[in-house]
């Protein structure tokens, strides 16, 4: 149960951090904010990597699901970061 309390604490505090920061993002950058958050939500790739990496308890099915998850998450990561960069470059130049 201790583990759960720690995780919940982190969860709640991170939401507060998120709200504080995101509220300061100007409307001009809302689209890059969304594609950027798409990119970082690709962090689920770390779970996918462990499922796809074939540890001692994996089965053929869980490996397949893991690989599919790696594919989806990396579309988010690469697509998200690159398209965000492309948009932000347009905002940068005058």
């Amino acid at each position: 149960m201790d583990m759960l309390i720690i995780s919940l604490t982190i969860f709640v505090l991170a939401i507060f951090v998120g709200v504080e920061i995101i509220n300061k993002v100007p409307p001009t950058l809302h689209t890059p904010l969304m594609s950027g958050s798409n990119a970082i939500s690709g962090i689920v790739v770390v779970g996918a990597i462990i499922s796809a990496g074939g540890g001692e308890h994996t089965t053929a099915l869980s490996t397949i699901l893991g690989v599919l998850a790696v594919i989806l998450a990396s579309i988010n990561i690469f697509g998200g970061f690159f398209v965000t960069n492309r948009m932000l470059q347009m905002f940068k130049k005058k």
Binding site: I10, I15, P27, N38, S41, V46, I49
Partner: protein, 466 residues
């Protein structure tokens, strides 16, 4: 080794937070995005060091396929299609969480002496539920954005089906928490119901409400990730998931406020046109009959020639007509003649938060000229000309002076206060709310019928001939 890996996840979470912090100004945003990418690299390397990873081949294949698709997509997507891309990425994020949750359930059932706790079971169901709803809901949203999926008419039927699915999912969750072992069938059935639920939830939502839906699904994709973090006891995932969840919820709130509607009304009220709008063609004709003043590109060029300040008011129609480059050309010409130019951006103009800003940035409009609604509204009184480009409902004065109007109370751009209003529009067809626009029959309004891009090009040509 395990502590080292967890420290790496902490580092990447901090980098994500700093990255998001960079997004608070266009000057620091590029650097912020790079910090985020570095954080992701740290996280991926840490995951590869995990002792559970025995074979790298499959991971590498997955990263190359997914990374390749993502890279090519990011380079080729036109800025007008950003809403579709973000909606699809929301779906992939949810889908990845769903797959990881199911894979980790299968692994847990093959782990000897695995003891599940109620919170693990709840996190498992939450991850499957939110992940599946995000996956299918996002793809219905993509279909609507592309104009391939139309709004469902029978809102009540969808509402009833959603309730039914919700009850089944709730019952299934309770059963799963009590009997979590070997529940493959239950997980499978719940997963399918949740996939269906995603479709049922988004189908009845009107096309005009897509900014809200995309923001909400963005939030869901984060929540699904956080739930997966609870399953895997991975704090990096929990932190990142909650950041994305918070971001999506805030944007959802901003969008709802800009439409003066509650989230429940957007999600379960059906489209605005059905909620009391939806005026018939003959009623609309009677409304406009004989009261509309027409002008052509030459007239507009003459008016602009004598103006000293002009405000452009872009809407979704600008994106459809791909007219943002023509707009920038016209603006440059005006500026060369010493005319002050600004752009008024309504929060729900376009199909996603910030859509107009990105389009105009692509056409190299400096972001300082893009002014938010609350700041620009008092300035319309001093403006000589307001040029409305493909915006409709967000300029309708009925929202502030006609309590019977279905959009009454919605904050609008007070375009009607400008000395002259030029509305460039193909026809008098209604906007998403399905109601006629009082702005079009005002004394100071001129309707210039035609495609936003072509009309502006003709205005540019006419101004050069003056």
């Amino acid at each position: 080794m395990n502590s080292f890996i967890n420290l790496c996840y902490l580092v990447s979470a901090v980098l994500f937070i700093l990255g998001l912090k960079g997004m608070t100004s266009p000057k620091t945003a590029v650097r912020g995005n790079k910090l985020g990418a570095i954080g992701m690299t740290v996280a991926i390397v840490a995951a590869l060091l995990d002792h559970n990873v025995l074979s790298y081949w499959w991971i590498l294949i997955g990263l190359v396929i997914g990374g390749g698709i993502g890279y090519v997509w990011s380079k080729r997507v036109p800025m007008t299609s950003m809403p579709e891309m973000v909606a699809a990425l929301n779906g992939f994020g949810g889908g990845a969480s769903l797959l990881v949750a199911v894979a980790s359930y299968i692994e847990s059932q093959h782990t000897p002496l695995f003891a599940s706790t109620p919170d693990w079971s709840i996190a498992m169901i939450a991850s499957v539920l939110v992940g599946a709803v995000t996956l299918t809901g996002s793809f219905i949203a993509v279909g609507k954005l592309m104009g391939k999926v139309s709004d469902a008419k029978n809102v009540r039927l969808y509402k009833a089906l959603v309730k039914l699915c919700a009850i089944v999912v709730l019952a299934g969750t309770v059963y799963f928490v009590m009997h979590p072992a070997n529940a493959y069938l239950l997980i499978g059935v719940l997963g399918l119901i949740c996939l269906l639920l995603g479709v049922l939830l988004v189908m009845p939502i009107g096309g005009a409400d897509m900014p809200v839906v995309i923001s909400l699904l963005n939030s869901y994709s984060g929540i699904a990730g956080a739930a997966t973090g609870f399953i895997l006891h991975n704090n990096g995932l929990i932190i990142t998931g909650s950041l994305v969840g918070a971001s999506g919820i805030i944007l959802t709130g901003i969008m709802c406020k800009a439409m003066n509607r509650s989230l429940t009304n957007v999600l379960f009220g059906g489209s605005l046109a059905e909620q009391g709008g939806g005026v018939s063609k003959s009623e609309s004709d009677a409304f406009y009959d004989g009261k509309v003043k027409q002008a052509d590109a030459d007239d507009l060029a003459m008016i602009l020639d004598t103006a000293s300040s002009v405000i452009f008011v872009p809407g979704y129609g600008l994106a459809v007509a791909q007219a943002h480059h023509a707009t920038r050309e016209l603006a440059t010409l005006l500026e060369k003649r010493g005319i002050k130019v600004k752009y008024a951006i309504h929060p729900v103009a376009g199909r996603m938060p910030g859509h107009m800003n990105v389009l105009l940035a692509e056409a190299e409009v400096p972001y300082e000229q893009l002014i938010e609604m609350d700041v620009i509204n008092p300035e319309f009184q001093q403006a000589d000309v307001a040029i409305v480009l493909g915006a409709n409902d967000v300029t309708n004065p009925a929202a502030s002076d006609d309590p019977a109007s279905p959009i009454y109370g919605m904050p609008i751009l007070e375009v009607h206060n400008a000395k002259t209003v030029a509305v460039i529009k193909r026809s008098l067809s209604p906007g998403f709310a399905g109601i006629p626009n009082k702005l079009f029959i005002n004394d100071n309004t001129l309707m210039v019928f035609g495609d936003a891009k072509e009309v502006q090009q003709r205005v540019i040509a006419a101004m050069n001939d003056l």
